[in-house]
């Protein structure tokens, strides 16, 4: 997956340090439109730092990040406008209702209430929570809150969706729903997705893969290609081989 200007997300030569500790080292990969790309790495590999950099919570001192050709340094606003994010940490306002949270998000993207209302309804319908829209988020379960966050990330119709360990702490059913829903979005809307996880089973054979270990990319490509390249029987073996080889 070479980093190209036309990619939904292109990361090149990205490095980051916290004091003396290098967290990311010359990271380069891209996410193409319509691709479901899994960023796979064990805990501490640098996934969350990478997310903080590609969402501009941290400043990328070394390297380049571009969203649909819009460089983060030159056009940060244009890049952020096309991006939807589900963070690892819950970010909903617990004391506001589901609908108020989504309306607030729409306002943060400058969307008029009349345009936002049908979109909010449609996204909540898709995640099966339309009938809970007037309840405070505090009253929802962990899995339902995650679905609200996913619906919220799509209200401004982004072309690139970033999810940082979205299934962490969820039960099997909620994980299955979330993964299936996002994969459908890729197929139906041509949405580019970067899905960070440490769970190998979330990377299906037809997904694209970026393997991160100790801040470095140690493997990338179509899952089936990465498995074949590592001479492994399955992804689990390939993943272990890549982690050992690095």
């Amino acid at each position: 997956m070479p980093a190209t200007e036309m990619a939904a997300l292109a990361v090149t030569g990205l490095s980051h340090r916290f004091g003396q500790r290098t967290v990311l080292d010359d990271v380069a990969f891209s996410v193409q439109p319509g691709s479901f790309t899994v960023l796979l790495g064990p805990n501490g590999a640098g996934k969350t730092t990478l997310f903080a950099l590609v969402t501009r919570l941290y400043y990328a001192a070394a390297g380049r990040i571009a969203v649909f050709g819009r460089d983060f340094r030159e056009q940060p606003q244009a890049a952020l406008a096309r991006m939807g994010v589900v963070f690892q940490q819950p970010t909903l306002d617990l004391d506001l209702t589901v609908e108020q949270n989504l309306r607030y998000h729409a306002a943060l993207h400058g969307i008029a209430a009349t345009i936002a209302a049908p979109r909010i309804e449609a996204e909540l319908e898709r995640v099966g929570l339309l009938d809970r829209r007037r309840e405070r988020v505090r009253q929802l379960s962990g899995g339902q809150r995650r679905r609200v966050e996913l619906a919220r990330a799509l209200v401004h119709e982004p072309s690139l969706l970033l999810l940082d360990e979205p299934t962490a702490g969820l039960d099997f059913e909620s994980r299955r729903f979330l993964l299936g829903h996002v994969r459908r979005l890729c197929a139906e809307r041509g949405l580019a997705v970067l899905w960070a996880t440490h769970l190998i089973e979330e990377a299906a054979d037809d997904a694209d893969l970026v393997v991160l270990r100790a801040g470095k990319v140690v493997g990338q490509g179509r899952v089936s290609d990465v498995v074949a390249g590592a001479g492994a029987a399955g992804l689990q073996d390939a993943f272990e081989t890549l982690l050992r080889a690095a």
Binding site: F18, G46, T48, A52, L57, T91, A107, L108, G110
Partner: protein
């Protein structure tokens, strides 16, 4: 981004802060009760101890309650500024700050909107206090209720911006008690809110200088003069200058390359 989009974004931020304020009834009531306690108990006790001579903007001898009323209005704004700051730290800890920070609008604009949202809440509280204070015979000229508005907005901006600066330095919610002790109380007591500065000068010239340099004194005097339909040019300049300075520092504090975000160590 068009002007209408900017307007919607700001409206959304102000709307959210208002909803949070309405939901947190305890915060609203304590913000109102605090100055009323000062007015009802502190001022009543001290009116016989502290004599207030005729000083501008007053043109006659005034009861002590009348003197401290503008100071208590400024106190409402001081506590509100710090409350907004606390809510920024809370939002950061709870993660909802990230929602704000990935908005495609410039960060300075997002911070300004946050600031204006806090000011709107504090101005409403100040007017509620002034309405109740009327029953204590604190009766500024009717026009004063209008002329005090720009002073309330400006001083609210200054104290809110100071709160933003502090929130960019405070890493954890637990550390916030220190800010209260080291910022709010010294600012409030070393000012002209509770006693005229000529009285302070009599007892300690050093403290008098500290009070003079304290921007909260300027905010208090700006409100006091405006409430009596007069302008205080020095206070106006100091408050405006400090607002700009604090706002610039807040923007730096929340800059992803320079502020607290750059200093923080990542999770994984």
């Amino acid at each position: 981004m068009t002007a209408a989009q900017y307007g919607r974004c700001m409206g959304g931020i102000v709307g959210r802060e208002t909803l949070r304020w309405v939901h947190q009834r305890g915060r609203f009531i304590s913000a109102l009760v605090r100055p009323l306690v000062w007015l009802a108990i502190f001022a009543a006790g001290f009116r016989f101890v502290l004599g207030v001579s005729i000083i501008p903007p007053y043109d006659t001898y005034i009861p002590y309650e009348v003197y401290i009323a503008p100071g208590l209005v400024a106190m409402i704004q001081l506590f509100n500024g710090m409350q907004s700051s606390l809510s920024m730290v809370y939002d950061r800890e709870m993660g909802s700050m990230k929602t704000l920070m990935v908005s495609p609008f410039p960060r300075w604009f997002l911070l300004l909107s946050k600031l204006l949202a806090g000011v709107a809440v504090s101005v409403v509280q100040a007017y509620i206090f002034l309405a109740i204070a009327w029953f204590w015979e604190i009766e500024p000229p009717p026009l004063g209720y209008l002329t005090v508005l720009p002073a309330l907005v400006l001083s609210g901006l200054m104290l809110g911006a100071l709160g933003l600066v502090l929130s960019s330095f405070v890493r954890q919610l637990e550390n916030f008690a220190g800010v209260m002790n080291f910022v709010i109380f010294p600012m409030f007591f070393a000012s002209s809110a509770l006693y005229p500065l000529w009285r302070v000068k009599e007892s300690s010239p050093v403290l008098w200088w500290v009070c003079q340099l304290n921007p909260f004194t300027s905010a208090t005097e700006l409100i006091r003069f405006a409430l009596y339909t007069q302008a205080q040019p020095v206070a106006l300049l100091v408050v405006t200058g400090c607002t700009l300075l604090f706002m610039a520092l807040a923007v730096i504090g929340y800059d992803p390359g320079r502020g607290f975000m750059a200093r923080r160590g990542g999770g994984d």
